[in-house]
């Protein structure tokens, strides 16, 4: 491991903005950008109206959708994205809007790699079928009904987003689209025009949910949409750990995913949001995630990307209240001809705020990891502290890692640090582990697991066990799904 950049000391004083892009010369070969992502097909106004009507939505939501559609049409297609050539809206209207046929009808029609992974993971058949999209209801009522009761007793609301729009319009309206603006970029606008599925969670004042919520088991299919929208509101003094998704590989028929997560952490509350994504390798995955932390609140993101063809995700936090804090742990595995464009953004908008970003990427068999991070300290956000650690592990000569950290400091009391390391596995290390009886692939997965070991601490044990099995399978050459 080699540290390629050290601490950044704010060099400015006064009211001039300082922007600094830390360049790591060795890894700064220019990425061949395309002109623009080509967007084929159209989303019609009547389609959006139809969606809204089918969901029996209130008027304000329909208006929001139509506003979003207009924005989508006006906003330029991103030019900064590497690797994605085009997105086909006609496909969206085919697979998402009229899902008449089930993606896969039976077990035997599943790709054999997926079946073999489920078998190797030792998943019970009902669970595997559910993961594979063969059944829409997870037969786990007995296990989870008691946990659901606990949540009810605590007054925690956790229901499908669409139900929440109808049942708690006041509460939803107060936060929905207020955290992640629809005008942010073309795909956030598209998301708001078409959103469907997702979960709404409200944790009342001073309620601490005593165990991590593996949302997958409660509201699985709701989280599985193409444009799902999840909104979590933690009221003052409350605490919640929310685990979205499951590390086992998931088969998806559609090819473009544009989901969103909004978190609102009120005074002195704490939200941990954990995602491990392992979707089939046909997917272009846009994941829009943003949180707002009020005074003394804390937002923690853990974002693991294993699957998909191309993932773009930068969990972001706006530290709005004095003394608030955030940590983002982002792990990207690009194993094969896939791209992970990940990172995190933090805006320090109040005094005495603190942030920590840890990014760990693993590039293998031609995989590309791109880290984009931004730390911004606003004027007046006195004595803010931020530390970014960006580690890349490259397993062979065909694979690449790029890092693009950006720092904007507008307050001269800020204490901002950035460290980056790049590690390469050399053949002598693999040989050494092989002489102890491990195959080359097993040697690689052992090194990878060791590399992310610190991050796995603090996750529920069964979750870690599943994840480490998934990573081992990933590096045994059968993990590449779809």
């Amino acid at each position: 491991m080699r540290v390629i950049s050290g601490w950044v000391k704010p060099r400015m004083a006064g009211a001039v903005e300082l922007s600094e892009i830390l360049e790591h010369p060795e890894y700064m070969e220019p990425i061949p950008y395309r002109r623009e992502i080509e967007i084929r097909g159209r989303i019609s106004r009547s389609l959006v109206e139809e969606i809204s009507r089918a969901k029996k939505e209130p008027e304000w939501m329909l208006r929001l959708r139509l506003r979003a559609l207009e924005a989508f049409e006006k906003l330029p297609a991103p030019k900064w994205i590497y690797g994605i050539e085009s997105i086909d809206l006609d496909e969206i209207t085919t697979y998402y809007v009229k899902p008449v046929e089930k993606p896969v009808e039976d077990w035997d029609q599943l790709p054999s790699e997926i079946r073999s992974i489920y078998e190797k993971l030792g998943l019970p058949e009902f669970y595997a079928k559910y993961l594979a999209g063969l059944s829409t209801v997870l037969d786990s009522e007995t296990v989870y009904s008691s946990m659901k009761k606990v949540l009810e007793k605590l007054g925690v609301i956790m229901i499908p987003m669409e139900e929440a729009v109808r049942k708690y319009p006041g509460l939803v309206k107060k936060y929905f689209s207020r955290i992640y603006p629809l005008m942010e970029h073309k795909f956030s606008a598209l998301h708001y025009a078409l959103w469907s599925g997702g979960v709404f969670v409200y944790v009342p004042k001073n309620v601490r949910v005593p165990y991590p919520i593996e949302a997958f088991f409660y509201v699985g299919s709701e989280l599985e949409g193409q444009f799902e929208h999840t909104l979590i509101v933690a009221d003052e003094g409350s605490e919640l750990t929310f685990i979205e998704g499951c590390s086992a590989p998931r088969f998806k028929k559609y090819s473009f995913h544009d989901g969103m997560v909004e978190l609102y952490a009120h005074r002195s509350s704490r939200i941990s949001f954990i995602t491990v994504q392992n979707w089939s390798r046909n997917i272009i995955n846009f994941n829009n995630k943003r949180g707002v932390a009020e005074e003394n609140a804390y937002i923690e993101w853990l974002e693991g990307s294993i699957g998909s063809k191309y993932t773009v995700t930068y969990p972001s936090t706006i530290l709005r209240g004095e003394g608030s804090g955030t940590s983002s742990i982002v792990v990207g595995i690009a194993n094969g001809p896939y791209i992970k464009d990940t990172g995190s953004k933090v805006i320090h908008a109040a005094p005495n705020t603190r942030s920590r970003i840890i990014s760990k990427s693993i590039s293998s068999r031609g995989g590309v990891n791109i880290y984009r991070g931004m730390v911004q300290v606003n004027r007046g956000a006195r004595y803010s502290r931020s530390h970014v650690q960006c580690d890349s592990l490259i397993l062979d000569g065909k694979s690449k890692a790029y890092t693009y950290p950006i720092i904007h400091i507008m307050d001269n009391t800020a204490d901002v640090g950035h460290e980056a390391t790049t590690g390469r596995i050399n053949p002598e290390q693999l040989y050494y582990l092989q002489t102890r009886g491990l195959s080359e692939d097993q040697a690689k997965s052992l090194i990878v697991l060791g590399y992310i070991r610190d991050i796995l601490r603090g996750l529920p044990l069964e979750y870690v066990a599943m994840l480490s099995r998934v990573i081992q399978l990933e590096f045994e050459r059968i993990g590449g799904v779809g």
Partner: protein, 253 residues
């Protein structure tokens, strides 16, 4: 059952580094390979253990009757071969505990190599203590920041836990004090008395003050130039390797 090296010639890139090497070690035996620095001893050890940079030009490596010349290192390891490295590499992220857990799970045919192995923890702690390593060494990344002596001890610990049948030790006593050398001798004796074979590669045989070799082979410039027993060790102790020039000219007696 023996480990046999038959008529082995080896090249790295285009350079020939070993020529017509033939060796045999049976279970319960200690074969000692000696020779001056750069004679090809370590290359021989790495070749037997399947290092990809060492290209076998001719000859065979046979473990328990099976020709493993074309097999990868892990296959050989599972056949019971173990190499105690002279200079083991650092492996950031992997500690002794997780490596040995994985190696044992592999030997038990498990697919999840991170599964806990019953009893391993206690055994590791006890063996580490006997070898002069602390519990903390088990949690540290392998060889990262280890002293020369700690690296040797870590290699010995792995050999003790994995219980190989054929152990090649490349300079196991270099960098160790007298007590360390005695410890190595004890481990060799124990391995042999429990029916395993040891190939001891050494430049200067301090450890042979404490154990008796079954056979001694001297390598010079990639060839075997002398074979014998204890008397060869004594000769090298007195004369060093100066006589090799002569042996080279006069053929290998």
């Amino acid at each position: 059952m023996p480990l046999i090296v038959e008529d082995l010639s080896v090249a790295v890139d285009s350079k020939r580094i070993l020529d017509d090497i033939s060796l045999r070690v049976d279970r319960g035996e200690l074969l000692v390979i000696m020779g001056p620095n750069g004679s090809g001893k370590t290359s021989l050890a790495l070749t037997i253990m399947g290092h990809p940079s060492y290209r076998v030009l001719k000859g065979r490596i046979i473990i328990d009757g099976e020709d493993v010349t074309d097999k990868p290192p892990d296959y050989r390891a599972l056949k019971g071969l173990f190499l105690l490295f002279q200079n083991p590499v650092e492996i950031p992220g992997v500690n002794l505990k997780s490596l040995l857990r994985a190696a044992l799970n592999k030997r038990m045919g498990k697919t999840d190599l991170t599964e806990p192995v019953p009893g391993l923890e206690e055994k590791l702690v006890a063996e580490a203590k006997m070898l002069g390593l602390s519990e903390e060494h088990l949690e540290r990344d392998i060889n990262v920041g280890f002293s020369g002596g700690e690296k040797k001890r870590s290699e010995l610990l792995q050999a003790k836990i994995l219980r190989p049948r054929y152990v090649i030790m490349d300079e196991p006593d270099s960098g160790l004090d007298v007590d360390g050398v005695r410890m190595v001798a004890d481990i060799i004796r124990e391995l042999i008395s429990t029916g395993n074979a040891v190939v001891l590669i050494t430049h200067y045989p301090r450890v042979l003050e404490y154990v008796e070799p079954s056979r001694v082979v001297v390598i010079h410039k990639g060839r075997i130039v002398a074979t014998g027993g204890r008397e060869l060790v004594d000769k090298i102790n007195v004369e060093g390797y100066k006589w090799l020039g002569e042996a080279e000219n006069g053929g290998s007696g």
